[in-house]
Amino acid sequence: MNQRRLPLISGEWIDRSQPIEFTFEGTRFTGYVGDTIASALWASGQQILGRSFKYHRPRGILSLANHDVNTLMQSGQKLNIRADVTPLEDGMTLSAINTFGGVMGDRASAIEFFSPFLPVGFYYKAFNSKRLFPFWERLIRNMTGLGQVDFSTPHIRTAKRYDFCDLLVIGAGISGLSAALSAADLGADVVIVDESARAGGSGHYQLGNDPLQLEKTNELLSAVENHPRIRLYTQTQAAGYYADRWIPLLDRDRFTKMRAKTVIAATGAYEQPAVFRNNDLPGVILSSAAQRLIYRYAVKPMNRAVVLVANADGYRAVIDLITNGVTVVAVVDLRESSLKSDVAQTLEQQGISIFLGYCVYEARANPGRDGVSAAVICPIDVNGNPQTGFRQTIACDGIVVSVGWAPAANLLYQAGTKMRFNKRLQQFVPEVLPSGVFACGRVNGVFEFEQKLIDGHRAGLEAAAHLGFDSQIEVTISPELESPSHPWAIVEHPAGKNFVDFDEDLQYKDFLNAAQEGFDNIELLKRYTTVGMGASQGKHSNMSALRILARITGKTPGEVGTTTSRPFFHPVPLSHLAGRGFTPEQRTPLHSRHVKLNAKFMLAGMWQRPEYYAQSGKSREECICLEAQAVRHQVGIIDVGTLGKFEIRGADAAEFLERVYAGRYSKMKIGTTRYALMLDETGVTIDDGMIARLGAEHFYFTTTTSGATAIYRELSRLNTLWRLDCGIVNLTGARSAINLAGQYSRDVLSKLTDLDLSSVAFSYLAVRETHIQNIPVMLMRVGFVGEWGYEIHVAADSAPALWDLLLEAGFEYDICPFGVEAQRLLRLEKGHLIIGQDTDGLTTPIEAGLEWAVKMDKSFFIGQRSLQILAKRPIKQILIGFMLDPNFQGTPPQECHLIIHGNEIAGRVTSVAFSPILNRHIGLAYVKPELAAIADLISIRLSDGTIVSATITPTPFYDPETSRQQEDVTQLQEVTV
């Protein structure tokens, strides 16, 4: 059924040889390839395409330019399809969104009867009552929404990409094409984008039956398409403008971040509706939409039209309607007089009545309420007020509106363009453009075809000159003969329903009431009325709202000003925003080994680290416990390659370390290591690690896993600042590290190296460079987990081989890989704190019990001065160890649980775990110093409010004499509480 399809139109977009079947609201329809959903439905006589957001009034085609937000549809899992521009696809199963019972019999349209109870600012008034807040929230949530989300919809990883050009022309209309050609001819690499399916803009449909214009447009387009330096992207939207001419371009399949050296906004203008009663009826249509229907889709917009005009475009539209079989029963011109153009004379000769100084007072619905039955017109006085005593009713089935334009200047605003209101044009036009940004065409206030060609040429030349191409700019633009926009195409009506904003169903009276309630500033008015806050972002309503406010406040539109335009100015599909993202992650060289050992990974910063190694039939806790016990009783192996690893060489290397760390290193013996604590300028503990002296001017040192990147950056900065004779090399990724710990660690290692591992030759905290089966390694005898152990540093590419060797050698000792959780437990037993877990952004070494690592008698180190000041003040908290009763049953405390004393917060837990070797829960906590006496009880409040008692205990909990590092001691020791 194609009852409104016209005979073949030259240049039509549809392919009549390819019919398409689809359904809308359960009814089968036919269209053609090249149709949009709306054009196919309109061609079939279906005029109600959707329902309005608030009153659920029937709505049809308004702009056919990507702004008809009352005709959003759903097709399967695809939501909010814009019917006015979305290409029709075979087999679409479409339904209108936001209806209750279908688009033709939407039960929610009963809301309109309650419209007197839904005043402007309804949301604010409704939610003002706390008591009624939940009621309104539930009701509004149930009533509103755009489509039904199917949560099984697959996540579409929409591709993103970068692109570059000398000149980005936004808008492939007449001026945009002209600009692109002019710049490209001078040598610029040009990209031109247009949201429409085909380029050419209004040159293809605002014809006034002028074949010459069509011919010129096609010539221009052909030149652009064949130009070697022009890339033309259609169905691509420039959705925003960011600093340095960075423009997000959106097409159906991807999101492109375009970096352009220059930008020309040839974005055109949005045709504006007139405000009169029932101006939202299906069949009340903008003139450009009617022309698009005709020339793009060969669809007759209506049979009998009343045309409301206030500019030359309107008369051209009348000609196009007549030429294509529409009976124009009257032309209603808001102006007292119009230019006696050839068009007007032609109309008069054809007997078409032209009502000068008249308005459409109201549109009347047909009995089916799916269209127009008549237009009621009347004269207007000089102030635009309707003279209702002279009303006339003219039967028609459509009203075409051509009363003015609003510049599509959103991107120019975002670019920082200063705009001014041109009273003669009744339009905001660019006054001061940012460097490298240009404008042409309608957005620049140039409307006539030939003038747009010239204006585009000028902009192209200016952009080329900005790019450094030799360009002679001597162009004159003739002023418009008549204003393209009427200053007041707004008609009051006592019965209302004269809509200003179709997105939010805002009527003329809403603005009067809002202003009366004090919201008489454009930004306040916007937020109170919600004008321009719907899905079309005010493209059809902002200018009218601005004019209304100007009239109410006695200002000019220029004085009222516009609201802020922010990217994205047009809704962007979430699939594009949530498309492919990049989240880097780091893996140690041993990752595949951990996978084979059934590791369960956790993220530590960007690192994938084994949290523990899963064992069949055992819980996570059991696995961690077994790993810890293996280290205590046999030997364990852990990948510590995530540690920050650095090398510093040079005559001033020791001096550098003295300055950045709180300890003393200049007198370290070669072949030894020492704990190192790093503070910031305020004396706060920020990192720790081990420093190994490998030579007189050569040190190797480690940092925490999370601190590596930031510490390297800071050390590099300090090295540049201090100009010391030393160089720092970041080896974090280039070196791997493995910790072999436990009483048999030495036995395992001795199978693989000739190095004398005796405690005399290789004592605790010593460092040695040697080989393990021909693999060069560095061994540090350290004991973070409290056992005899070796931290083995090796080149990353050799780490897997070394790991394999160690596991093989340790097999006879039941060597057990252990993960981060077991390591945390083991170090807690030893009372070693973790920077960032047992410290925070305010913790000083004094509070953390790390004074022993701070040498205040040094001449200088970062944080020293602050510590000197802090040392004179009483400390507010101190880190203590605590234990729960061995017989404790129930929920144990967790990290961050609070210490309570006399109903006051007296501290917090930083670490807590069940120690299998001590057979009780142990932990670290900060408490007020006066509560920190050994053997005192502290009260810990759990999440459910329960209080658990714990006993303050000296640390280390395990092996306080460090006897595990001595050669002849293997007995376990436990602190007696």
Binding site: F582, R587, G727, R735, A796, A801
Partner: protein, 212 residues
């Protein structure tokens, strides 16, 4: 015993390819059908090549004393005799990577056992990748914000930038051949991400025999 392992080794193991030990590292040298891919968009692992890094105010003089022709500008590179690359990563930092037929890196590493003042050797354990084929720019545009087509390859540019969020060094050797180095710990992520996009573009993994 195989000792060296590429950061990308695990990503390549599932491919039904042919392996060969190169510089002590198992390396994927060919994959059935990679001859069809290589012209469009191929990605190959070159981590097996030996390389050496050095930085410091004395680095230029020291490298010249080792009979190496040093790039005279920061962020440029020069070819080494018998293939290979010397890249100047900044004012005073250098990456030297051998070809299969040269051994500068090993020689410099040995010479570095005793280096003069202000010369600091840098252990290089990079994930090293090569991209090839006519669709390289499509891949780069999806992964990196640098406009590579604006570069003059005759000037031998070296680009230090971010690619898919990872710090990388990129050298466009030819219009259809780009070298990429990154910290080996990011290698698996970079490889997987680039390969996913390359496959969308009709590309895939190729063996190094297609390229060297």
């Amino acid at each position: 015993m195989i000792r060296r392992i590429s950061p990308n080794h695990d990503r390549l193991q599932s491919l039904n390819g042919t392996w060969r030990d190169i510089n002590g590292m198992p390396s994927l040298v060919s994959i059935p059908g990679d001859d069809r891919i290589v012209a469009n968009l191929g990605i190959a692992d070159l981590s097996f090549l030996t390389r050496f890094g050095v930085k410091g105010a004395g680095a230029v003089a020291w490298l010249e004393s080792q009979k190496l022709e040093v790039p005279d500008r920061a962020n440029t590179w020069k070819p080494l005799p018998d293939g290979g690359i010397i890249a100047r990563l900044g004012l005073t930092e250098f990456l030297i990577e051998d070809s299969l037929h040269s051994s500068f890196a090993l020689r410099l590493a040995e010479a570095c056992q005793s280096v003069p003042a202000k010369v600091y050797p840098v252990l290089r354990q990079d994930a090293a990748i090569v991209l090839c084929g006519k669709a390289i720019q499509d891949l780069l545009r999806q992964t990196c914000s640098v406009n590579f087509q604006a570069l003059s390859l005759a000037e031998h540019p070296v680009i230090l930038t971010l690619m898919v969020g990872v710090s990388v060094t990129i050298i466009p050797i030819l219009p259809d051949r780009y070298r990429i180095w990154c910290d080996g710990t990011f290698g698996a992520y970079l490889w997987e991400t680039l390969l996913t996009i390359a496959q969308e573009l009709g590309g895939g993994v190729v063996g190094v025999d297609r390229l060297i």
